[in-house]
Symmetry: D4
Subunit: 222 residues, 8 copies
Amino acid sequence: MPDDADFEMDWDRETRTGVSEAVLCGHKSPPQIAAIVAAAQDAGRRLLLTRLTAEAFAALEAGTRALLDYEAASGTAVLGGRLAASPIAGIGIVAAGTSDMPVAMEAARSLAFHGYDAPVIADVGVAGLWRLMRRIEEIRRFDAVIAVAGMEGALFSVLAGLVEAPVVAVPTSVGYGVSFGGRSALHAALASCAPGLVVVNIDNGFGAASAAIKMLRIGRRR
Amino acid sequence: MPDDADFEMDWDRETRTGVSEAVLCGHKSPPQIAAIVAAAQDAGRRLLLTRLTAEAFAALEAGTRALLDYEAASGTAVLGGRLAASPIAGIGIVAAGTSDMPVAMEAARSLAFHGYDAPVIADVGVAGLWRLMRRIEEIRRFDAVIAVAGMEGALFSVLAGLVEAPVVAVPTSVGYGVSFGGRSALHAALASCAPGLVVVNIDNGFGAASAAIKMLRIGRRR
Amino acid sequence: MPDDADFEMDWDRETRTGVSEAVLCGHKSPPQIAAIVAAAQDAGRRLLLTRLTAEAFAALEAGTRALLDYEAASGTAVLGGRLAASPIAGIGIVAAGTSDMPVAMEAARSLAFHGYDAPVIADVGVAGLWRLMRRIEEIRRFDAVIAVAGMEGALFSVLAGLVEAPVVAVPTSVGYGVSFGGRSALHAALASCAPGLVVVNIDNGFGAASAAIKMLRIGRRR
Amino acid sequence: MPDDADFEMDWDRETRTGVSEAVLCGHKSPPQIAAIVAAAQDAGRRLLLTRLTAEAFAALEAGTRALLDYEAASGTAVLGGRLAASPIAGIGIVAAGTSDMPVAMEAARSLAFHGYDAPVIADVGVAGLWRLMRRIEEIRRFDAVIAVAGMEGALFSVLAGLVEAPVVAVPTSVGYGVSFGGRSALHAALASCAPGLVVVNIDNGFGAASAAIKMLRIGRRR
Amino acid sequence: MPDDADFEMDWDRETRTGVSEAVLCGHKSPPQIAAIVAAAQDAGRRLLLTRLTAEAFAALEAGTRALLDYEAASGTAVLGGRLAASPIAGIGIVAAGTSDMPVAMEAARSLAFHGYDAPVIADVGVAGLWRLMRRIEEIRRFDAVIAVAGMEGALFSVLAGLVEAPVVAVPTSVGYGVSFGGRSALHAALASCAPGLVVVNIDNGFGAASAAIKMLRIGRRR
Amino acid sequence: MPDDADFEMDWDRETRTGVSEAVLCGHKSPPQIAAIVAAAQDAGRRLLLTRLTAEAFAALEAGTRALLDYEAASGTAVLGGRLAASPIAGIGIVAAGTSDMPVAMEAARSLAFHGYDAPVIADVGVAGLWRLMRRIEEIRRFDAVIAVAGMEGALFSVLAGLVEAPVVAVPTSVGYGVSFGGRSALHAALASCAPGLVVVNIDNGFGAASAAIKMLRIGRRR
Amino acid sequence: MPDDADFEMDWDRETRTGVSEAVLCGHKSPPQIAAIVAAAQDAGRRLLLTRLTAEAFAALEAGTRALLDYEAASGTAVLGGRLAASPIAGIGIVAAGTSDMPVAMEAARSLAFHGYDAPVIADVGVAGLWRLMRRIEEIRRFDAVIAVAGMEGALFSVLAGLVEAPVVAVPTSVGYGVSFGGRSALHAALASCAPGLVVVNIDNGFGAASAAIKMLRIGRRR
Amino acid sequence: MPDDADFEMDWDRETRTGVSEAVLCGHKSPPQIAAIVAAAQDAGRRLLLTRLTAEAFAALEAGTRALLDYEAASGTAVLGGRLAASPIAGIGIVAAGTSDMPVAMEAARSLAFHGYDAPVIADVGVAGLWRLMRRIEEIRRFDAVIAVAGMEGALFSVLAGLVEAPVVAVPTSVGYGVSFGGRSALHAALASCAPGLVVVNIDNGFGAASAAIKMLRIGRRR
């Protein structure tokens, strides 16, 4: 590749926008990923990588792998360890089913990278409504809620109608047939008339975490 | 039009399948509709017409109009009056919002045409879950439930997870943007993992009524 | 994964809705599947697993595999053996082609899990209409019919126009080109004007079985 | 409009391809249509116009209207009257329902323009299969069959499985919901495994007529 | 309509979720709208109506119209006048073009109904980037930003990369061809990698306002 | 699998419709394919198999493979050898590019199975128009033309405007991006105003062959 | 509307990019259009308006109308008259059919506004290839070609394979059925393998003109 | 394959259109590719191959591989080495992110094959706007700009609003969820109102290079 095609990290994004840039690894080759990690290491920067499959992680050299705290289920890796500060509370993650856990974990790991500690409340799909209702008081205490669901995404409407906090819907690609790789859940979230429900891209746990962080920072700015 | 293009009603459909043919008026011209009504009148048959807009009804001649019991909100008309037998109970209609009422009424009128009396339980959208929960015991008493909802269609999953009866989902074209003329509600119904949920075409109140009637006839056949 | 992310089976679904929850394995990892089987075993519960591929089954530990009655063609597994009661008749499965058999078998296995014995009438696609007509009297004796077809799904309309029982259409992902992974068959089923035809998601044999069971229970409730 | 933008009829198309060009009026303004009719009149040519709505026909000047044999149901007009030769038999048109008649008539009028006399066999939708079977021997005598159906388009598969002649499917925009303006019927025709079934665009009665004419001409060329 | 089909407002939604229910008038008949207004008037409740076209407003009786503060450009009406409290600042609305103003105004009016005073910064589409950059410092002072754009929706990514506040994207149905009634702008918002960008349905100014209100309430709850 | 799920070949299809049934192997397991071949062998029938990949062919037992004349590029196999009669001429196959050859060969092999010998004229895509024009006189001599093209499918319109014979368009899944797996070529064929152009499913070489055979049989029937 | 929502023309766009901003009137109200015209008049600027329907033009006040040179077929209006300089040649417009003329004229009028004089070569659809071939030498003399076609858009591939100049394809919304409002022609243009073919949005004659102008300016910059 | 199915290169395309034909290898088998290379070698022609994966390249025989200058990241190969003439400047390539580099490199290699030397300016996605602005003066010096971006494609609008040169947008299939394999970026490019922006197929770096070459040749022709 030519010299003038070097990558260019947006290191100041956190200062400018309150959230760090993450490296979305899905379409990057192992050499590209390794080069980005090396650049961050050289610059003394922490780094969050997402959509890093087990195969792609294994294809990295041992030296690079050793630098990273990798978690396979969520496909996330962290360079530079935990933040020193004590974790910040206020954000909760609600997941409809077991199959939605990888996306919920991407959100949880992204929050942890930024210093937030968010519990995951799982298996509360609304086809068995009692599961959600049993834990609704716990959920109502969060300042911002990340809701993760695939298939028909009915959780989003029900949940957003029950809590005062803003709800960030993350549709997942879980399902088959007319689930259309997450589009039915996405459309369900967008078409809902439940108040204060906002939506991010299919499987975008990192994006939901970023939005929730920005919401919690409002109070501190004022 | 040539002589050999005459229409041909399926008069024996009720005998063969348990449900009468209905005349779907949406793509038929007023002369075509009038000819069908006249043929039924001549044959001494009762007839159900659906998707008959106020404009199309007004375009019929006065003589034809006088034969029909027309209801504008649901766009349905009946030739031949009520059945003599006392109405049959067991089917309930549940509608998410006020805007879904025309479709719910098409189902109710189709059931009435066949001798079934079905109450409509309206405005129980799950973004305000208490509205559904307040009436759930009443709904649980039905042998078959017709659920009518547009927008994101979350009602279907929640309802089907709460009742023992089979639930026939009728997605409606209510909504805007990603509601896509009812497709998001349709996909929500199909992608749901709630047990025993079956689906008919968008706005197809007549089809849901036909299915519910066939379900109730099972018990009587055995 | 965090402690508060444990899965939560809806054990009471059968009591509440008349049909058991099934474990849809398509998006679950082998450890997740094994944990669910273990929990059911500990709780003394029978369990139905669907969409369990031969690869995923082989990836389970031998101990887990030994607990399961696995059938590869339909991708279903049962924990806890057959029900003691004698099988219940009344439901029939009609499949258009050889390629539709895996979905037909998912329906048959789901019915068997709940105590119903349903014959499969196969290879009756309507491009060779005599095949269906030769067996139509046999099909007319069922109280509820599950119809399984891919490609253009013309079987649904023809069949529903010939029988008195309600017909549950299961479109399959069989086909190529404009079959669109089952969507053309799905749309054919939904757009049909045949009376009493209801539809479930593409390839959803379990859902069709659940709906048919609920229909047959109506007679017994009354 | 500039001089160099004059329209240019393909007057030799019939000589070159066996079928005349038709003027598709849907997107043309009344002045454009009038100019084309005048040019054909000047050149002493016969002309077929399709998709000419009653509103567009009424917007033409009286002199132009007087030249045309207009038929409103099919939206077709002919300049130059009937062909002198006696009509050619061998093509039949089969229409599923009353609502499909306008498209069936566009095919019939297009055939008549080229000298073919094609009977229309209507109201033979397969949800009431006996209607088709009662007339199947008559249909089997045609050398080429044009099949016209909307909604789920199941007629195409059944019919093509019963006759020896090639079948040209014309999906129509009749239906609602998932009929998607004719796309479900179109996909049904294309996805069918019935042999010798070929397809033209939605509502394209003229195109089906052109194809059938070309098929019949094969025998005469050889 | 039957007695048991009465509508049922979710009057407690504001208490439960922090935002009032609004009446989406798009699919409701004038009598339905009038009945809802009357019920709110009787209950002494304030009410926000959205998607109320000039035609629908004109079709209401004079008595009902007199109760409402109607604004035609945004299609919104308010029953019950302004809140007594002084307006709350912190939310800004940024609109790409003149054609996006109706949706921006729906958001502004929804915010005003709840007591928030939000300035609208218009005509800052990024094809002329200097227009946005000239006002970016002003925009950076908001605690939450509502961004309104149609066509290709490039404003969302650029804006969200420049501000610290969370950005709620409202895609609009402005555009033609591949704008697909707002879907291209919607997909642009969802597919963006800009941090903290969340999305609501096409043209859903009310939904964006609800979400922004919930975000600002976080600080006050803590 | 249960006994009553046995497959059922439509052996009389050739007598009834003029074209044999083919076995579409795409969704069938090797045991299913082997059973069908064995049944045909037992019945003394010739058999055509399509969409038989090299992997699937290799998975058949040696005994089955030995019975079949397999051609890998087209994915077709024939049981029972060539027809005794001398090959019938009159059908030509025109393919736009090298990548379209597998589909063109499926058509050629299907024709050969039925006794027709059809030359393939390849690499005549219209972006280099001289290639088509150089061979157009040869093409004009066919009684029926099968046109095979992917990508944007412009060949269909140009070709059908140049020949007197009917043209059967076979869109192929060749291309990328907006080729959408053959849908753009399919839509180009259907939306064309060239006369006498008819269309089959994407990649359906067998279907095009069946249609062409039926067309040529017209002359012999009369 | 609030004061801070005033529109903001990008007056310097021509200086910065070589092409003026045009006012797309499709989603703008008559008062919005009038205000923009008034602002341009006050600033002594020339202005091009597109997608201005006859109804919208008639709804403007007489004073505003008098300022504009309006052309109804193309829906364009010009404020400020012709440029003084003599027209620049080099760009040609090629349109497939009569129905494509409004879009071709939008391109021609946009070019004229910027001082370019572009002939329109119409009715050269490739289903009658001789029409295009008769004029191809004339077309080959242009430095840049704008091609305008709807339906299946086969003109784009054929034309771009015949000329040395770059070809800008403008798909039009002309057609019906699978033409999908211009999407099939759009996809045909994009999927073509003809070299140097570039594409703009459906019906976007102005965009094609802008691109052609920029291309011709390259030579003058160097 | 039969003898009359031989491929036919369009060797004169460069003379006729100014750009050579490239061999799109995506759907071609290794023997087909080898035969084309051999024919070019025999004819003494240079040849550009695109979409040649590392697997496909490895499947070629060593003799063929030795003839080719293969570059894996872009999937391109060149037969016949570099042009003797000194490279031509004037075209620049701008890529939004690291993942877009393979498509940018396909464009760069296609340009180099034709004798153009085009620098690649990478990692200038507009979510971090400063990265683009830092290099905008450099970009403004190009005569034609190729812009490469996936995900939401906001780069296209911003860039085209800042430069005087024509901009050729190449949407890439980079992204997930609603990126829809590049369609969202494609629609963003087409729906943009930025002047002079033209578009090629998803991932079509070669097509963009061809268009840019044709644009630069205008100046030399005049």
